[in-house]
């Protein structure tokens, strides 16, 4: 295997621009904490184990020179990745579990759809196909093979009741409609869809048709989901590259991950104009 000069120069210039501040790395991951909410399902269903941590030793009698913890959590705790096998619609697809994902699809361009204003105005805001078409009219067509992240600024609610926004009739948070997801998958051929909320679907997504349209359509077509993303407001609309590499869990349905993007530095952008 040989490394060509051009490859070398791309990586070298990447490192150079990261070093110079032309590019920055945006961490899209929340810290895993025990009080990070997880998906709420009717109690008679199996429940998603929230993140839990137990100290094993901390330079003490249990381990004089070392500190470490045991972790317990669901595959779907904190900022996490949904593989196609997560949903019944994706159960028969090849390469649908988290250990089999084609690695090249985990790094790719990311398009940010900013619906933060609409989400602030309406907690149950639903992104429709019409919204996407309007967005494209302004921002250009979403390119095939891209990751699409729905910006709602919902991550800023983390730590308050609004994040889950749970009432007697369920959670209330923005998300896509079925026609919007179908548009992104079937007509734009995106790789995956990410949100700042607890799921790729709206809080009231179980009442849409089909129920949980994002999960159903994305995973039924072998696409991926990213949830509980942070710092989405630090990404440009276009031009960033997403790195989303989950843990390699045998036959896993998803995984917490450290997800980040390399993006043009906002400071530089600001200076430029």
């Amino acid at each position: 295997m040989s490394i060509t000069a051009s490859h070398t120069s791309v990586l070298a210039s990447l490192l150079g621009e990261l070093a110079s501040g032309e590019l920055e790395i945006v961490d899209l991951t929340h810290t895993l904490t025990p009080d990070f909410p997880v998906m709420v399902l009717p109690p008679e269903f199996g429940q998603c184990q929230p993140f839990r941590i137990e100290e094993v030793s901390r330079y003490d009698g249990r381990g004089p020179a070392w500190y470490w913890n045991n972790l317990f959590m669901s595959e779907h705790a904190g900022t996490h990745f949904d593989a196609p096998a997560h949903w019944v619609s994706g159960r028969n697809l090849p390469f649908s579990t988290i250990d089999e994902l084609p690695f090249e699809r985990l790094v790719g361009p990311v398009v940010v759809l900013d619906f933060s204003a609409e989400s602030a105005a309406d907690e149950d805001f639903l992104v429709t196909r019409a919204h996407l078409e309007a967005w494209e009219a302004e921002n250009g067509t979403i390119e095939a093979g891209a990751w699409v992240i729905l910006r709602t600024d919902w991550s800023k609610h983390l730590g308050s009741d609004t994040y889950l926004n749970l009432r007697e009739d369920g959670a209330h948070s923005p998300g896509p409609t079925a026609d919007a997801v179908a548009f992104l998958v079937e007509e734009r051929d995106i790789v995956g869809f990410g949100t700042e909320t607890i799921g790729t679907d709206a809080g009231q997504g179980s009442h849409l048709t089909p129920p949980y349209p994002a999960h159903t359509i994305l995973h039924g077509n072998g696409r991926y989901g990213l949830q509980c993303l942070a710092n989405v407001d630090r990404l440009p609309t276009r031009g960033a590259v997403l790195f989303a590499a989950p843990l390699k869990i045998r036959q896993g349905s998803g995984s917490p991950l450290r997800v980040f993007a390399i993006a043009p530095s906002r400071k530089k952008e600001g200076q430029n104009g």
């Binding site: 009080d35 709420v40 199996g46 184990q49 929230p50 839990r52 749970l166 009432r167």
Partner: protein, 414 residues
């Protein structure tokens, strides 16, 4: 008439907390049976199977007929106090800190003369009513109360208060306010004179029924507490561990299902995480502080109470995993009882039958109303009772358990 105790002042930060000492704890095996009777409540003495004589102190052979079959049975609790003294000096550190200590000799109507603690309202000579209670060392002791009606503030008698875990002026933590049981217990303790009732709420971002009514009660303080999260338990203990005098664990994860059901391992883990590990986390993070404060004045730490299903004693097929967690919980409580003993802190088990709640909808009545559990918790504290059985089913199972656990195991299969 007893003088009412005063509301304790805030703790003086310059004073060393009085270390907990215990009254003498050594007992013969026969006397341990007296302690067991006290743990269960009621007034029992050893009765000779052969001649019916009531024996005291507990012994291995009847002084009337040398019969060796002596069993604790409920007997007449009346008697007459003949003599009294107030012990002013004692080589025992526990009593030395608490002198003068009033004792008397009582001739029980059932026969024996006994040395007993005397309630301050008892005059000598007079008719008395004898009660059997656990002392802070966990052993059964006798105390004479005036015969007839209870007078006001009787529970405030300092010697009486040593034998029970009265919530008056004490600060209580009820671990789960999300359920009706937790809310009923918190309400009852507030009404029973608790100074503050901290009510734990897990996942506070999830609203729950009864939240507003609970928060509106006097002396109620909602606190974040998730028993499945070590950090949460530790954090709360860091805040209120030094002023938790009574801890009532009302957290309970009840799910139907057997060992071979789909997802049994996940259900079992979830169940154990709340019911067993949760108890351990509470014990670890609140226990040491309570144990150290076992003699800390009027609002000393006194009791760690757990509300658990009676299926701790024998499994029930419909709730096999839940029953397994209850059995583990029972064992944890036994261990905790020993670990907290050094502080004189009591561990009380409130065994309930199926509760009238959403997780027992498919269970046939009779079921236990949350208010009944709350009443039992307060009664257990006021009587210092170690084991209480709430509801007809719990009492039935307890009776069958005492009779023959292996038969009960079979009876519960049906």
């Amino acid at each position: 008439m007893s003088v009412p105790i005063e509301r304790p002042p805030r703790k003086d930060p310059q004073r060393v907390t009085r270390p907990p000492e215990l009254p003498p704890t050594e007992r013969s095996r026969a006397s341990l049976a007296l302690s067991a009777a006290a743990a269960r409540g009621g007034f029992s003495m050893q009765v000779c199977d052969a001649c019916g004589a009531v024996a005291y102190p507990p012994r291995d052979a009847c002084a009337h007929c040398l019969g060796r079959s002596l069993r604790f049975r409920p007997v007449d609790d009346g008697g007459e106090v003949l003599a009294e003294t107030s012990v002013q000096t004692s080589p025992n550190l526990y009593f030395r800190e608490r002198t003068p200590w009033r004792i008397g000799i009582v001739r029980l109507d059932s026969g024996p003369s006994v040395v007993a603690h005397l309630h301050g309202d008892v005059t000598v000579p007079s008719r008395i009513r004898m009660i059997l209670r656990l002392d802070t060392g966990g052993n059964g002791v006798l105390m004479a109360l005036p015969a007839g009606r209870e007078s006001e503030n009787m529970a405030d008698d300092p010697q009486m208060r040593e034998l029970v875990a009265d919530p008056k002026y004490r600060r209580v933590l009820v671990t789960n306010g999300r359920t009706e049981v937790g809310q009923a217990v918190a309400t009852a303790l507030s009404r029973a004179g608790a100074e503050t009732v901290f009510v734990g709420v897990a996942e506070p971002w999830k609203p729950f029924a009864g939240q507003e009514a609970l928060a509106a009660l006097p002396g109620i303080a909602m606190v974040p507490l998730d028993l499945t999260d070590t950090d949460s338990v530790k954090s709360l203990a860091g805040q209120i561990g030094g002023k938790t005098d009574i801890l009532v664990n009302t957290a309970d994860h009840a799910r139907p299902g057997g060992l071979m059901a789909d997802g049994a391992a996940v259900t079992m883990r979830d169940t154990f995480d709340v019911n067993v590990f949760g108890l351990q986390r509470l014990a670890q993070h609140f226990g040491a502080g309570m144990r150290a404060r076992g003699a800390d004045g009027t609002n000393s730490a006194v009791a760690f109470v757990d509300v658990l299903p009676v299926y701790a004693l024998a499994s029930t097929p419909d709730y096999a995993l839940y029953a397994a967690s209850a059995a583990a919980r029972h064992s944890v409580l036994q261990a905790l009882r020993t670990e907290l003993l050094a502080g004189g802190v009591r561990v009380m088990s409130i065994f309930t039958g199926p509760i009238e709640d959403e997780w027992h909808q498919a269970v046939a009545p009779p079921k236990v109303q949350p208010a009944r559990i709350a009443k039992a918790v307060v009664a257990a504290l006021r009587e210092g009772r170690e084991e209480s059985f709430v509801g007809d089913i719990a009492e039935d199972i307890a009776a069958r358990y005492r009779d023959d656990p292996k038969v009960l195991e079979r009876e519960l299969r049906v």
